[in-house]
């Protein structure tokens, strides 16, 4: 869906560098999510947010930081990138209601060298 965009699409960075992945949605959805996708592991939840200024850890939050100062944006920061963080990162959003589906972005392919 065009309503949720991630940037950049591809990123190569070096070990130890800080990198921020951006996610923007135009629907004013309350919930936003960050997942990483790795072969053999499927999708793993990193962080999620139920509303602006409210964030919660997911399955694999270590090494990541998020913020949600505005409803539409949910950036993900790798404070000091490691090779194990090489992955494809997907952002998603959904409405507040219990029965609403997730809408995913196109993903960011991150390589840490």
């Amino acid at each position: 869906d065009a309503g949720i965009t991630q940037s950049p699409r591809y990123k190569i960075t070096e070990t130890g560098r800080q990198v921020t992945l951006m996610c923007h949605q135009t629907w004013s959805h309350s919930y936003m999510f960050w997942y990483r996708q790795d072969l053999g592991h499927g999708l793993r939840l990193i962080y999620y947010s139920a509303a602006a200024d409210i964030t919660d850890k997911g399955e694999v939050p270590d090494g990541y930081v998020v913020s949600r100062s505005k409803t539409e944006n949910f950036p993900l920061t790798l404070e000091s990138a490691t090779r194990s963080q090489t992955s494809v990162y997907f952002c998603a959003s959904s409405e507040t209601s219990y029965n609403s589906p997730l809408h995913f972005g196109n993903g960011t392919r991150l390589t840490v060298t």
Partner: protein, 106 residues
């Protein structure tokens, strides 16, 4: 813990054969369940949701509360169905399972 499980990581079928992708859930109440599909190098997209009882691209899924299952079925698989399929997690924890990779062979 409330979760969904997909017991098969990889499922291979021949074109024209029936396919069933299994999903079991372990949480109570009346779950709102979805299936998502991810074609090669694309984003995940909603395939279907049980509440709408739709058939999308020939796929259907029936919620079986007795067996706590929400299996995805298609009577005749096509090569373009080859993709990753995810049964969506309960809204309580948003944790997906590893998914099932469907490979439809010619």
């Amino acid at each position: 813990a409330q979760r969904v499980t997909q017991p098969e990581k990889l499922l291979s079928v021949f074109k024209g054969a029936p396919v069933e992708l299994k999903c079991n859930y372990s949480y109570s109440g009346s779950p709102e369940l979805f299936w998502y599909v991810q074609y090669s190098r694309q984003r995940l997209q909603l395939l279907l949701r049980h509440i709408s009882r739709e058939s999308i691209k020939g796929f259907t899924a029936d919620l079986n509360k007795g067996e706590t299952s929400f299996h995805l079925k298609k009577p005749f698989a096509q090569e373009e169905d080859s993709a990753m399929y995810y049964c969506a997690p309960p809204r309580q924890n948003f944790v997906f399972g590893p998914g099932t990779r469907l490979s439809v062979l010619p």
